[in-house]
């Protein structure tokens, strides 16, 4: 049984001068999935994310979100169609408080009293109460990541793109982040870019491996981890032995 994919790309390509950062990606995501993207640095994962979220215009190819052509849509239109993204580097309003950041995120989705209610809910869920009135720019890296994840999910997107959600987090925070991702996956489709294989093992069902701007292989975590080609291009490099 195949359902219509909630997100798909066909022959998606992005060139920077002579470099093909993303070189023809056919990608398809079913509703409710929790997909991990892995691949060495420069494999094109972040560029791929930025094209899907409208931050970069593709050179060629096709992007469809729930069947709608989104290739030439503006970033805000893509966001309104239900895509939320946490970028690789914490991308928040540093000069505003945690509360104000969450409020602005919630206000993009809700009106009136519903804004305050959803801010309260997310605050409780992510245990941000203690830091609610601190400026985001004063927080530790890991906390800022959490605020940003909170801002993404408070918008209740259909698809959440998380670019390295565990980067710079302590071990404890990483475990909590993995739990959070599994929990929000009950309501939302999620794509995660990560390098931390322990983290991926914790959350992943299907893993897509990027290499040199293309999809190398797509399979379950265990098969991917055992695949000799993947070990060569990616795991071998970071794993050692």
């Amino acid at each position: 049984m195949t359902v219509e994919p909630i997100l798909s790309t066909t022959a998606l390509e992005k060139r920077f001068g002579g470099v093909r950062a993303v070189a023809g990606v056919d990608f398809s995501l079913q509703p409710g999935e929790l997909r991990c993207l892995i691949g060495p640095n420069g494999a094109g994962k972040s560029t791929f994310f930025k094209m899907i979220s409208g931050q970069l215009k593709p050179t060629s190819g096709e992007i469809r979100i729930a069947g709608h052509d989104m290739l030439n849509a503006e970033a805000y239109q893509i966001a309104r169609s239900g895509i939320g993204i946490k970028n690789q580097v914490p991308d928040v309003m540093n000069g505003l408080s945690v509360r104000e950041n969450l409020w602005l995120a919630a206000a993009s989705r809700h009106r009136g009293a519903a804004i305050g209610r959803s801010v309260d809910r997310i605050t409780e869920r992510l245990a941000l109460t203690a830091i609610l009135d601190r400026l985001v720019g004063e927080l530790a890296h890991g906390q800022r990541q959490w605020v940003e994840i909170g801002m993404v999910i408070v918008c209740e997107p259909r698809i959440v793109l998380l670019d390295e959600p565990a980067a710079g987090m302590s071990d404890e925070e990483t475990v909590l982040t993995a739990e959070l991702i599994r929990e929000i996956n009950k309501d939302m489709t999620i794509v995660v870019v990560e390098h931390d294989m322990q983290f991926i093992r914790r959350i992943a069902r299907t893993v897509t491996v990027f290499h040199q701007g293309r999809i190398l292989i797509e399979d379950s975590f265990d098969k991917i981890a055992a695949d000799p080609t993947v070990r060569e291009v990616y795991l071998g490099r970071s794993g050692g032995t």
Binding site: Q55, E74, A75, D91, M93, E100, W103, L104, A107, C155
Partner: protein
Amino acid sequence: MIPEFSATAARPPKAWWWGVIALIALAMVMLPYYVDIALQLDLSIIFVFALLALSMGFLWGYAGILSFGQTIFFGLGGYAYAVLALNTGMTGLPFLGALLIPVAFSALLGYFMIYGRISDIYLSVTTLVVTLIFEKSIRSTSGPEYVIGSVRLNGQNGIPGVPGLTLPWLDGAPLSIEGVFYLTAGAMLLVYVALRLLLTTRFGRVIVGIRENERRMELLGYDTRLYKLGAFVLAGGIAALSGVLYALWGNFVAPEMFNLNQAAQVVIWVIVGGRSTLIGPIFGTGIVQYTSNWLGTVGVGQVTLVLGIVLMVFVLVFPRGLLPTIGDAFGYVRRRVAGRGAAR
């Protein structure tokens, strides 16, 4: 920190703030009974310029758009009022028309700049260039062929004899000096209160969010260009109001309204007062204007030089401006006092 002093405080003003506003309004009403006409005129022009400073301070401090050319709309407002009032013999409708014309122009200019996604620095340069183009163009209209309706533009001599506002309940007599004082003071106070309240609304909070991180706001689903254009047009409208009031105050408009000197002065008022507040630009205007008048009367000469030094001192020593610095100091003292109280 006092909410009033924070660019981020989106909370509704407290009761004490309304109290202060009411006291100031009362003082404005009483003032003409106690001070002479010369002081009323001096204060009126400060209020007019304070509106211009508010327009720029709001746009720069809250929306993060540094427009060097709010004088475009200031000058357009003044000229539009002069031309419309002299042509029609009316004053009320021209007053409204003179607000609409610059607002329409700010929408057009803002649309091309903001939807064209030019960078912040180019926006500053573009606005400055546009105001200088207006200045040069108006300066070159001294010939008799430059007529709008029956009004000659007069090039660098400007348009004299701009009629004062006549109000129906004043039997058609133009507004007195006292009337102009009330009009300018009222306009400034109203715009200040309206902007302060605007910051607590969704629109106000969103533009502050855009100032902080435009890309993130877009990724949250906000059409940031629309909000920025809204802020730009609003600021254009305030500058236009300032320009119309300027024409009413002096019964005169001239190309100097658009020139570099005027444009730079707005920036100085805002920097001295502090751009992260609304009250800052008002005080900045008052202090700078009062100082330059005073320097003029005591015969120091070199007013521009002294103002230049003042500006440099501010940029180097109080980069946030006067009022935010005072606000910080006040907050620091309050925390120390509170801390000592808690220690006991």
